[in-house]
């Protein structure tokens, strides 16, 4: 039996677009210059010198978009989002979550299984995928659970789940605390394939913690989660993966020691990859001082030295990609004392703008590198990376790198508003997203300019 497509979306009409004289920047295709880009029937049909593709014969069949002063990028890919379907649709659902993704320039996301019920069986995965085929605006892939009910004990029917279209497995939100259980999953991976995607946290070290242990937790009287809660588990699981020859991906690194552990594992030849989230790359425990519950996430925001180590890890490739860990929560769930609040921040709509504003504009990272890391997630899960080449399906983000905006000032595409970057002045905005050949997002103020 051949495996079904792993990325699912609702069917939408294919796009016919001509980006006229736009700055194309695609690190994979080694393009960094102004071009005309023609999309026909959802595919990139032609790249031409600026203002050379003749629009007259296309009259009425393509929408012409003025590209001057704007950048056309390969659309982003996020391997770590929470779309909350099934069971928590008051926070988010497949439609609103993928709308938020499209608004952030994403043309593919991977959804986590810590829903209600947990996605831990083939029938549940099948019904979720058919819901995505009706509702998802951009293609969604799924990671079902490693263990039944995320309980950390019995493995799910991983082989059947792979046949049903899983990209891999994760108990995200929880660690696989037992080394023995994770080892069995790594052994079983030889049969079924798929990436084991790991949330690293030692519950015996993190219990009761609501922020990172350090000077701020000491001052606030909050129980702290020590950085070693994460890094010891990264080191343990890298050793297990190496021993079993397994393939693991470490989610949302937050500590300098974890970056070191991943670098060591890679040097030793272990099949490991890692992601970092915009909030861990841009914010620190100091941002928790005001006890804004939007700053409460798991893993918690780290120290400045952790932030710098994550940036360096992203720059040198120890960290393979950016992942938002988009985690929507309803307003009333977050409007409670800090210790009672659920963990998580939304991130899809702000990831590019926040990273561009706080890392690219000050010269910490190049735009080129940022784009590479925001698109690299797909390859880690065996999917083709989005590129701006003719003959490829159109997965494109048109951005205005100089547009200033304040996230949240005009509401959100997500159903939830718990974004840690809300209210900040950001520079760089997605104007239009094409996902798998169809227009998935268009900024409301951004209109057609005519042929």
């Amino acid at each position: 039996m051949s495996s079904p497509a792993t990325m699912i979306r609702r069917s939408q009409p294919p796009a016919d677009l001509l980006f006229r004289d736009v700055h194309v920047l695609d690190p994979r295709a080694s393009i960094d210059r102004r071009l005309d880009v023609l999309v026909r029937d959802g595919e990139i049909a032609q790249l031409g010198e600026p203002s050379t593709i003749d629009a007259t014969e296309l009259e009425g069949t393509v929408e012409v978009l003025a590209g001057q002063g704007k950048h056309l990028l390969p659309a982003f890919f996020d391997p770590h989002v929470h779309l909350r379907t099934p069971g928590q649709e008051h926070k988010e659902d497949l439609e609103t979550g993928t709308r938020a993704a499209a608004a952030g320039g994403y043309a593919g996301v991977i959804a986590m299984p810590n829903t209600d019920p947990v996605i831990d069986s083939a029938p549940l995965l099948r019904s979720l995928r058919s819901a995505a085929a009706r509702e998802a605006r951009v293609p969604v892939g799924f990671l079902p659970a490693i263990t039944r009910g995320l309980q950390g004990r019995e493995l799910t029917e991983m082989a059947e789940l792979m046949q049903e279209g899983a990209l891999g497995f994760t108990d995200d939100g929880k660690p696989v605390a037992s080394a023995g259980t994770l080892r069995k999953a790594l052994q079983y991976q030889r049969l079924c394939g798929g990436v084991l995607t790991l949330h690293e946290e030692d519950p015996s070290l993190s219990a009761g913690g609501s922020m990172r242990e350090g000077p701020v937790s000491a001052a606030m009287g909050l129980t702290g989660v020590p950085s070693v809660s994460e890094s010891t588990m990264v080191a343990r699981d890298a050793a297990l993966a190496r021993y079993e020859g397994g393939r693991v991906h470490f989610q949302h690194l937050s500590a300098a020691e974890s970056v070191e552990a991943v670098a060591t594992a890679k040097d030793q030849g272990a099949l490991v990859s890692a992601e970092a989230s915009p909030h861990h790359l841009l914010l620190t425990e100091e941002d928790v001082r005001g006890l804004d519950t939007r700053m409460k996430m798991n893993p918690p925001l780290g120290a400045e030295r952790d932030r710098l180590a994550l940036i360096e890890g992203l720059r040198c490739g120890t960290i393979d990609c950016v992942a938002t860990d988009h985690a929507p929560h309803a307003r009333e769930e977050k409007e409670v004392p800090f210790e009672q609040a659920p963990m998580g921040t939304t991130g899809l709509e702000t990831a590019f703008a926040a990273l561009h504003t706080m890392l690219v504009l000050p010269g910490v990272l190049s735009l080129r590198l940022l784009i590479e890391r925001m698109t690299a997630g797909s390859e880690l899960f065996g999917l083709e990376a989005f590129t701006v080449r003719s003959g490829q399906p159109a997965n494109l983000a048109l951005v205005d790198l100089s547009a200033a905006w304040v996230p949240g000032e005009n509401g959100w595409e997500s159903r939830s508003e718990n974004c840690c970057f809300a209210g900040r002045q950001l520079t760089g905005r997605v104007l239009l997203t094409v996902a798998d050949g169809s227009v998935a997002y268009r900024q409301r103020a951004f209109t057609v300019v005519g042929a």
Partner: protein, 315 residues
């Protein structure tokens, strides 16, 4: 002053002002009729999510001595048990238009949150392990009455610092008043990086004799979910303040209630060096001063500090 949410936000001048006002109220406490009409017609609401005898009754007594009306609200048996959120409870109680809400909860930052939700002046009577500002104020007051200025005074805070809001408020308050603070206790009960608050850290009592004042903390059984020390017996052997460890020139303080035989031996509790009953006495006058400062003090603004609610975001 709009609210009393933490010692962190007070400066030395504000602490001095409250202590001075408390001293004036102490003279009233010695009169035959102990009541003054300063807050007649005002309403003080005690909202206590945690059990408390002395703090709550001391706030109640303070309000009554100022002729305010007092309403006590304890969540047990109320809608809170039916799942009402803190915000909804506060909004509901605000409908009675209290002038002051005195709030204690097990959650860090709850007083600050409540101050954003209603127009009453908020007094933090303990927010989780964060702060307990009126305790620190009454401790400063007690020391001032006994010793005069605190500048240069060496104060050791001994015991379970990790679970203690009293410790955090006192580290800040005593340092603001010029004292030098050392915290001492078992390494499992001293939070990592606590020295960033400016205090020194010791893990034994071998230098306790250098202290002018020893402030023992309660072993907080109720906040402990696991074994932080091997046994209370071993704790007492290493950290109990007793007649052997306490020098005659040193003063002893404790926020109460005391676990006799654990953090303090019985004989030091009852010794003339102990300021423990002075602390309890100070509780009422200091809390009178805080309520007065918020509602009638020269620095208190007209009570219209309701912040605008955040704009609702379209879905």
């Amino acid at each position: 002053m709009n609210h009393l949410l933490s010692v962190e936000e007070l400066d030395r001048e504000a602490i001095e002002r409250i202590v001075a006002q408390a001293t004036r109220f102490a003279q009233v406490a010695d009169r035959e009729i102990k009541k003054v009409p300063a807050l007649r017609g005002r309403m003080v609401l005690n909202l206590f999510y945690e059990s408390s005898t002395r703090t709550r009754s001391s706030f109640e007594l303070a309000a009554k001595r100022l002729s305010a009306d007092v309403v006590n609200f304890t969540p047990g048996g109320s809608s809170v048990e039916k799942g009402e959120s803190l915000k909804d409870t506060v909004l509901t109680l605000s409908a009675h238009k209290p002038d002051v809400i005195v709030i204690r909860t097990p959650w860090v930052g709850s007083a600050e949150l409540v101050s954003q939700w209603c127009s009453a002046a908020i007094v933090n009577a303990g927010d989780g392990k964060h702060e307990h500002p009126t305790q620190a104020l009454l401790d400063v007051y007690t020391l001032r009455r006994r010793l005069g200025a605190l500048d240069g005074l060496r104060i050791w805070i001994v015991g379970d610092v990790a679970h203690s809001r009293v410790a955090r408020s006192n580290i800040l308050a005593l340092q603001k008043m010029g004292a030098k603070v050392t915290v001492a206790g078992p390494p499992t009960l001293i939070p990592r990086d606590i020295e960033t608050l400016g205090c020194e850290v010791r893990h034994t009592l071998s230098e306790l004799h250098t202290a002018d004042v020893v402030y023992a903390l309660r072993m907080q059984h109720e906040r402990m979910t696991e074994a932080w020390v091997p046994s209370l017996r071993e704790y007492a052997a290493w950290y109990q303040v007793n007649a052997r460890r306490l020098r005659s020139r040193q003063l002893l303080m404790h926020p109460g209630p005391v676990n006799r035989g654990v953090e303090l031996s019985g004989e030091v509790v009852d010794s003339p060096q102990s300021l423990i009953s002075s602390q309890v006495e100070a509780g009422v006058v200091v809390r009178m001063a805080v309520l007065y400062e918020l509602l009638a003090g020269s620095q208190s603004p007209a009570r219209t500090p309701l912040r605008p609610a955040p704009e609702p975001q379209p879905a």
